[in-house]
Point group: C2
Chain length 382, copies 2
């Protein structure tokens, strides 16, 4: 079936197109891998921010799930997700909202990496009578927050939680540096850094007589490359549902796995400069230039035809707010194809989290052949 | 009055804070300049995307105005703006919506830069009986679209519009390259490029017996630097209402003029690395790194205290989706201030258009002392 017949031609551009079949394949691949490794998968919903996607990626639609904002926790809790990890260090001002969500029946867990925050969480727990569960963040790659596994403050922080009225639920790490490493072997080394750091931290807590039921690790590159997760209880990843050019550039997926694209319309040409102008600029693509530091810079994205066939020599080289400029990629000697005004193209994004966030919904090409285009809303905010 | 008392302390972070007094000062400054130059000001509403801001920047709230999407045209038309220029080359698929807006009473003008599009606009005009007004885009700086002023296709395109049932309303140019030039003299040269190219194009049309009542130019840097706009009828600019670090970096404003910031909360520290972690990442700031190519790279933004006082040595050096990392700027030898967990900070953005687009509303510090914080919604989409 020609994709145009499914309703793409009726859409106002620019807009997101999501290929459900590719998404389901990506979802299944990581679920199979987690099953083979014997760990639970806790998908991160920050990329999709869609109840429809959540219902397809979560077991029975209920979790476990990871979120990056309390707005996500609110929406997904309302949609029936019962087990949610809010994986950004909890601001003390947000604890009342956490307590309210727990009181409404959601098993919401927070993370923290300081004695100060443990004290705040313990105090809020005592005051409300709601024992807030917390994971302590472990720094495995000097990427962001977290205690080193051998930091004596780790055990002290665990004790403040455990003895102070909160619930010390475990430890977690995220090897964000893996996004800058290329190839499965490199990602496997980061996975082992996540594993060894969190297991060491869990052991330190347990040796001090503290509980540590959860040992949580993950990122899209490390989750796919993990070979042995002994001691780990759960794996987190988010962008793998859609994938993107940054992930393709580090070998975490193939370009053909990318399920998300931006549909756009040709609005002009500057033939002397070899430019085709389209109506998707950075407002539609985001300003993310994640591939700029990779071996192959994909500009603002690789161009596909309306059917999604990759035109691999063509990239969006420049973007203004509502204008994109499409050119042959540097080094290419192929002639610029003729795209008459009104031609529809699709652009694969650098970073699916950032591109999706520029839009209020997905136009979904359904897995089932012959079904019409679906529209799945997405949300933002905090 | 302490700003915290006005209600900032109650806000969920991250969120936008807009200083109304600074905004009104920025609005007035350019209006005065346009008045002195004897041209109409046609503010671009793409930065603000807010009916409340539009009502403060437009004469009688009615226009003239510029927009970057038809979604903006729809919202502002509904809010009573009657004179709107849609300043992105019109995709043929969007002409029905243009006609519907005109039929509903909005004087909506489109732009185009090709014979093909002129034919499409003329055809749609004839078919609907609605003469769609169009400006022909002129390329003054090889930045994006547009005809060279001496391109014979310009007159041919004008004739297709005029003779074909559309309305040839004039010409327009935007010196986007001025964003990369530093200082008022450089911006004035770009302003003269806009002026001379559009006036030459207008003369070419008139000499061919075609009408050209509108000669429209502008960008924030060129609008402020313009010294003589003989032959020009209107000036466009958008980001000047809020300003940002990119504009400060090229001398189009001072840092103190920036009316927009992102309020954030400290959630952690990595003392060994000199990092303070906050809950505003790129989702709140955008991925725009417009100052990266300037003389002073401001990272993801300059840090201010909650009151808006600039802490000029501190910038957000790194951003993940929901984490920002604050450090001393490179070369600074000052010690890192102690920001206890829970501290509120404000971050000035690289690019106000991009940062504002990450949020659904503005928390507005009112010009009138003693008044409470206001919330102005903003919208996105196409």
């Amino acid at each position: 079936m020609n994709i145009t017949d499914q309703g793409l031609a009726e859409l106002t551009t620019p807009c997101l197109v999501l290929d459900e079949a590719k998404m389901m394949r990506n979802i299944q691949r990581l679920q199979d891998h987690a099953d083979a490794l014997g760990v639970a998968l806790r998908p991160h919903l920050k990329t999709a921010k869609s109840v429809e996607v959540a219902s397809r990626v979560l077991k029975d639609g209920m979790g476990p799930a990871t979120v990056s904002t309390l707005a996500e926790a609110e929406v997904f809790a309302k949609a029936g997700v019962t087990d949610i990890l809010y994986a950004v260090g909890i601001a003390p001002q947000k604890l009342d909202q956490v307590i309210a969500l727990r009181q409404a029946g959601t098993d919401l867990t927070v993370i923290l990496d300081s004695l100060e925050l443990a004290q705040a969480v313990a105090k809020a727990s005592r005051k409300s009578g709601v024992a807030i569960p917390a994971l302590i963040e472990i720094d495995c790659d000097e990427h962001r927050g977290g205690f080193a596994a051998d930091d004596p403050l780790l055990v002290e922080t665990g004790r403040v939680l455990h003895d102070g009225g909160a619930e010390l639920r475990g430890v977690m790490a995220h090897a964000g540096e893996s996004y800058g490493a290329v190839g499965k072997n490199a990602h496997a080394r980061y996975s082992e850094m996540e594993r060894s750091a969190t297991v060491a931290a869990a052991n330190a807590l347990r040796e001090a007589g503290l509980p540590c039921p959860v040992v949580s690790v993950g990122s899209t590159p490390t989750a796919h490359a993990a070979r042995d997760l002994t001691g780990v209880t759960e794996l987190r990843a988010g962008v793998y549902m859609f994938f993107d050019l940054v992930m393709a550039g580090i070998g975490a997926c193939k370009v053909d796995d990318i399920a998300l694209s931006v549909l756009t319309t040709v609005i002009g040409h500057q033939e002397k400069r070899g430019w085709t102008l389209v109506d998707a600029g950075w407002m539609a693509m985001s300003r993310d230039r994640g591939t700029a530091s990779q071996a192959v810079d994909q500009g603002y994205g690789i161009v596909c035809d309306e059917q999604g066939q990759v035109l691999s020599d063509l990239i969006m080289t420049k973007a203004n707010q509502e204008h994109g400029i499409i050119e042959q990629r540097p080094g290419s000697t192929a002639p610029m194809p003729d795209f008459p005004i009104g031609t529809r193209l699709r652009i694969l994004p650098n970073h699916a989290c950032a591109t999706a966030a520029q839009h209020s919904g997905y136009n979904v090409l359904p897995s089932t052949t012959g079904h019409p285009l679906m529209n799945w809303p997405r949300f933002g905010g905090w």
